[in-house]
Symmetry: C2
Subunit: 132 residues, 2 copies
């Protein structure tokens, strides 16, 4: 199955090892730059939080954890895994749909990682469903 | 970027339209069957909840919502999107790592959808980090 980047995320972290663990810090700022072909997907974007689905393109392909070989990767959120698809919920600091820029807080991606999706959080999706 | 199925999910729903919206019901039961090559990734799996990353292989590739063309897909969690990667947090009813079977509650996938990842929930991951 082919997964195409919709954009790229810029963060202060050269590698995922340099990044804070998810949910521990919200002060790291990053920017998602959405490619022109996908910017229409940002129309009406007004949420305070967003789920960023990104591709850890420099992560290892492993089945058990280096730090504990008795634990499989499916017990973890480590970027190193068979398909290096990572999911990070971030705060949204600003959005410019025309320029395709989304400024985020709470990033943990390695700088330059491909982004493959942005999604509403479950809370926002529930709210949207309630309102229709 | 190539995304390889690690298994398949079996659910009561022929299409995602038949499925309950995420977070609204936890009574729909499904089973993930992990392919033999990836079963080692289930070692030590003992969580009550899991994040299932799956591929909506019958979903449309769209940029704005059919029900509201002023809203882009990145404001939603609809399976129809440029990369049909979906993320569903489910309860875990039982796990058989040897057989590669994970029985789940709260599924919303179309029956037979490819699974591309299983991850710890953020709560479990934080707990794991605290304990090391």
């Amino acid at each position: 199955m082919q997964c195409d980047p919709i954009g790229t995320v810029h963060t202060p972290f050269e590698t995922t090892s340099d990044a804070p663990r998810q949910g521990f810090h919200d002060d790291a700022e990053g920017v998602v730059e959405i490619d022109p072909a996908y910017r229409e997907g940002l129309s009406g974007f007004d949420a305070d939080r967003v789920v960023v689905v990104w591709w850890a393109d420099r992560a290892d392909d492993i089945l058990t954890l280096d730090r504990d070989p008795d634990r499989g990767v499916f017990t973890s959120r480590s970027p190193a895994r068979p398909n290096p698809i990572c999911v990070t919920e971030c705060s949204v600091r600003s959005v410019d749909p025309t320029a395709g820029r989304v400024r985020l807080g709470g990033v943990d991606m390695a700088d330059g990682s491909p982004v493959v999706d942005l999604k509403a959080t479950l809370d926002d999706q529930c709210w949207a469903a309630d309102s229709t």
